[in-house]
């Protein structure tokens, strides 16, 4: 356990104390207790920059299940560090923002911050684990905490729907990824990413390579909301806005991108990796930006915009992989795409984070996010408006913001496809350009439909005014980062970008210099084209909007998802209803019948049935009498009609059994059985008056069915008892106990020594069970509503 491990676990530890702090420090907003942690962690991880920028890594291992090759190995390298800085940095800003966004008087802050910390720790675990199984555990934990956070306002139906949808889709992908992890383990015999990368040659020629690749991509695509799995992200917007800004734009949805980047050294040699990632990324990029324009809810626009931007980063990573795939083309042509991907990842976190916070402020101050109701807020909220301008213009790819730089690099990357010997390559730059036009349009919608135009106070629930300063701090910081990275992009290049790139593509030299001016080249012309066409289309939006009506609603992916889920629920419901009648006797009848069939089949199928009359103990006349008494009592008990006869007969059987224990040289059992039987009978008698005098009788047909099953069970058990005596497959372990009772445990009574010493665990749990039974009885009788209310 090192400091690094502690850093990963720290959020979980703090999460334990959050409910206590919330309960006892009601006057202080719980967020203030949480805020120091991400700040501290951010400072801690910043200290690693000097290490990673020298192309070194830090690895700390903590032994967990070493026998299975599962160790909690934490590794800080360029890529991991980039993500940890995003997680802790954005995390600190989001916590600060949430303090003002969520009221401490009306919201359940304890659960909110527990979930948020759970996510933070899990996400740190994902990006710092070198062991794939540990990575998978944290990966699912992020899905889980995302589920909890989307469903934070669980009394809203849409929240529950969105939470379930995100859970189903991301966990589906997670399971696929687990399959991929296991396939990799089969190929290499290790779960360590470092060791797997070292064996990438072995993997490439292995027949399981393609299935493993597809499994990993499923995991990455579902998590990063790639087409057609993107449908969960818009519904995830039901979460509180700080959560949307944090999980569903800056960090969690980038886990898929992280996975692709992390596994690139393993898979990228294969062309399938390249085309799948680049292709799906491009489709997602286009579809997301196209769909964003038709939305009327500000958060929905941002959700589809996030989908689109994730597609952009994904497609860039795909093209970057070409550097590994094509040997005859200068790799520098493609590595620029990877550089663009990593750079845009950072930029997206800054501008999208600030935009989400702006939308949160608008929602908070006006009570709506509907652009049809909003307008003219510019004069009322000047600071928010400024932040929105910076964020949206950066997203649209306008200078002098950081989005412009990465957009230019994005075009360079897309154009580099033309260098490949591929006929349809032209589709990529063209698709990218069209998507950029739509990106420009929705960026303008966000700013101008909200802040300019006609102010409609009658449609708003509240009277809007500028947000409190605390709420503005975080978006202001992010917006200033947008400008700083725009003017001085190279402060990132040596410290963060190059080490991260080195991790994604080991073996290539990276020297990143990002500049503003490259002359009048194709990229700049494309940007100018985007702006011109974008402005024209934005102004004529109302005229061509009907385009969106052309798509039949029936073909929508959401419809497909809903129907599929509905169908599965109905199917499993009717299947369950067909045998779950709600009657426990029917279930018992099923079980007993199944026992009969299964045991008879095994007994005769395996030829295990045998009757061996050798070595049987002798029978005395008194034993025959006892045996027949027990038989008579147990048959008679079946036909009793009153409570008193039943109780007496049960007692009879119990006492007879204890006599058998005497005969079979089991003094401990005989003693225990005798006393227990006495106490049991007195218990029955204590309850005597509370029990029905006459027992309910069953109809005859019912009796016949029961009798058949009962006889069957009796016969099968007899057969088993006979066979068990006749088959002695291996030596009993009892001899050990017999021999060692005195020497090892210094006791004389073997049964007692086994109970308290050799098999003390059994006894310990047994008395625990007894204690639970007592608690149950105590609860049934004492802890109930007084007055015996009729249900």
């Amino acid at each position: 356990m090192s400091l690094l491990h502690l850093a990963i676990i720290a959020p979980f530890l703090l999460a334990v104390f959050v409910p206590i702090l919330y309960k006892h420090m009601k006057k202080v907003h719980t967020g203030w207790f949480v805020l120091p942690l991400p700040i501290l962690l951010f400072a801690y991880f910043v200290s690693f920059i000097s290490t990673t920028s020298n192309k070194q890594t830090v690895t700390e291992s903590f032994s967990w299940i070493s026998a299975l090759g599962i160790d909690f190995t934490a590794k800080v390298d360029g890529l991991g560090l980039l993500f940890t800085l995003l997680i802790t940095g954005i995390g600190a800003l989001v916590v600060l923002y949430s303090i003002y966004y969520l009221s401490k008087d009306t919201e359940k802050l304890n659960t909110f911050y527990v979930y948020l910390l759970l996510f933070m720790g899990a996400m740190l675990g994902v990006v710092l684990s070198d062991n794939l199984i540990v990575l998978y555990l944290f990966w699912e934990l992020t899905s889980f905490s995302s589920f909890l956070l989307i469903g934070y306002w669980y009394d809203r139906e849409k929240s529950r729907y969105g939470a379930q949808k995100s859970m189903i889709i991301t966990v589906f992908g997670g399971l696929a990824m687990l399959g991929g992890i296991i396939l990799l383990y089969i190929m290499t015999g290790t779960f360590s990413i470092t060791e797997i990368i070292a064996q990438s040659d072995v993997i490439l020629s292995h027949p399981l390579f393609v299935p493993a690749l597809l499994c990993f991509l499923l995991g990455a695509f579902t998590k990063s909301a790639q087409f057609p799995f993107h449908i969960w992200l818009p519904d995830a917007m039901e979460a509180p806005t700080p959560v949307s800004a944090y999980l569903h734009s800056a960090t969690m949805v980038k886990a898929g991108i992280y996975l692709v980047a992390r596994m690139s050294p393993v898979f990228a040699e294969h062309s399938l990796w390249l085309w799948l990632i680049a292709g799906f990324g491009l489709v997602t990029l286009f579809w997301g930006s196209f769909s964003a324009v038709k939305q009327t809810d500000l958060k929905s626009i941002l959700a589809f915009s996030t989908v689109s931007q994730l597609g952009l980063i994904m497609s860039l990573l795909g093209i970057g992989a070409a550097a590994l795939h094509f040997d005859n083309i200068d790799p520098a042509l493609f590595t620029v795409a990877t550089t663009a991907a990593v750079f845009h990842l950072i930029n997206h976190a800054t501008f999208k984070g600030s935009l989400f916070m702006v939308v949160g402020i608008v929602d908070h101050e006006t009570g709506t996010r509907d652009i049809r109701k909003l307008g003219g807020l510019m004069n009322l909220m000047p600071i928010t408006f400024t932040i929105a301008i910076i964020g949206a213009f950066s997203m649209a790819g306008l200078p002098p913001f950081n989005g412009f730089l990465s957009k230019e690099m994005f075009f360079t990357g897309m154009l580099s496809i033309l260098n490949m010997d591929f006929n349809w390559g032209i589709l990529f730059p063209v698709g990218a350009w069209i998507a950029s036009v739509f990106t420009f349009i929705y960026s303008m919608i966000i700013v101008f439909k909200t802040f300019t135009g006609k102010y409609q106070p009658e449609k708003l629930e509240k009277k809007p005014h500028e947000a409190p300063i605390g709420m503005l701090i975080s978006p202001i910081i992010l917006a200033s980062l947008v400008i700083i990275f725009g003017f001085f992009p190279n402060i990132l290049s040596n410290s963060v970008l190059e080490p991260a790139l080195q991790t994604i593509m080991p073996g290539f030299a990276f020297d990143v210099h990002i500049g503003f001016w490259h002359g009048f080249n194709a990229e700049l012309l494309m940007t100018i084209g985007v702006v011109v066409v974008g402005i024209l289309l934005y102004l004529t939006l109302s005229k061509w909007r009907s385009v969106y009506g052309i798509f039949p609603e029936k073909l929508a992916l959401n419809r497909f998802y809903d129907n599929g889920l509905d169908w599965m629920q109905k199917g499993s419901h009717s299947l369950t209803n067909s045998y779950m009648s709600g009657s426990i006797r029917n279930y018992l009848a099923y079980m007993f019948s199944f026992i009969i069939i299964l045991l008879t089949a095994t007994l005769f199928g395996k030829d295990a049935f045998a009757v061996n009359t050798e070595n049987v103990a002798d029978i005395g006349p008194h034993e025959v009498i006892l045996a027949s008494m027990i038989a008579i009592a147990s048959v008679a008990i079946m036909f009793t009609k009153t409570r008193i006869t039943s109780i007496i007969l049960t007692g009879t059987i119990g006492y007879l059994v204890s006599l058998f224990f005497v005969i079979f040289r089991a003094p401990d059992l005989a003693l225990t059985q005798l006393v227990i039987e006495t106490i049991s009978v007195s218990l029955f008698l204590l309850c005597f008056y509370h029990l029905p005098k006459k027992l309910t009788d069953d109809p005859v047909s019912f009796k016949v069915r029961n009798a058949i099953i009962a006889v069957g069970v009796g016969a099968v058990v007899t057969l088993i008892a006979l066979s068990a005596h006749s088959n002695k497959l291996f030596d009993s372990i009892s001899q050990y106990y017999i021999e060692n009772t005195y020497s090892e445990a210094a006791g004389g009574n073997m049964v007692n020594v086994i109970l308290v010493d050799f098999r003390g665990f059994d006894t310990m749990f047994e008395i625990t069970v007894l204690g639970i039974a007592a608690l149950g009885i105590y609860g049934l009788i004492k802890l109930r509503k007084t007055g015996g209310k009729k249900l």
């Binding site: 401990d668 003693l671 225990t672 204590l686 009574n749 007692n752 020594v753 109970l755 009885i777």
Partner: protein, 140 residues
């Protein structure tokens, strides 16, 4: 309805102590001869049950003012504590230790930590049985 329990009550006063003594004997003897925590505990509960039958619940509660649920907890603590004690000596959970002590006059005394574990079992059994009987009997 008034019942005449004189014979039962008189006999109980005598037999009760015999049963309790026997149960304590059987508890300690359990390591060598038949007996142990289970039987000892059950016998003790049997004795208290007899007391309950002869007298009434209130009176028994006055004589033995225990909260039997606490007794269950105490017993579990004994059992787990004995097991966890082994960890202090760097041995696996539930490892027992034993030894002989020579006492003047009384002679050899054999000590075994398993007895402590068994005492936990004893307490749990008495606690559980009495909780059950008391709650059922005390209903109404």
């Amino acid at each position: 309805m008034k019942t005449n329990d004189l014979i039962l009550q008189t006999a109980t006063k005598l037999i009760l102590f015999l049963i309790v003594l026997f149960s304590i004997y059987i508890f300690f003897a359990g390591h060598y001869t038949p007996g142990g925590g289970f039987v000892g505990g059950l016998l003790t509960s049997g004795a208290i049950l007899l007391l309950l039958l002869a007298f009434d619940l209130k009176m028994v509660q006055n004589i033995l003012p225990f909260n039997y649920l606490y007794m269950v907890a105490l017993g579990l603590l004994f059992a787990i504590g004995t097991g966890a004690g082994a960890l202090l000596f760097n041995t696996p959970f539930l490892t027992h230790a034993f030894g002989d002590i020579h006492l003047p006059v009384l002679g050899e005394l054999h000590l075994h930590t398993a007895t402590l574990f068994d005492l936990g079992v004893y307490l749990v059994v008495v606690g559980v049985t009495m909780t059950i009987i008391q709650t059922i009997g005390g209903d109404e």
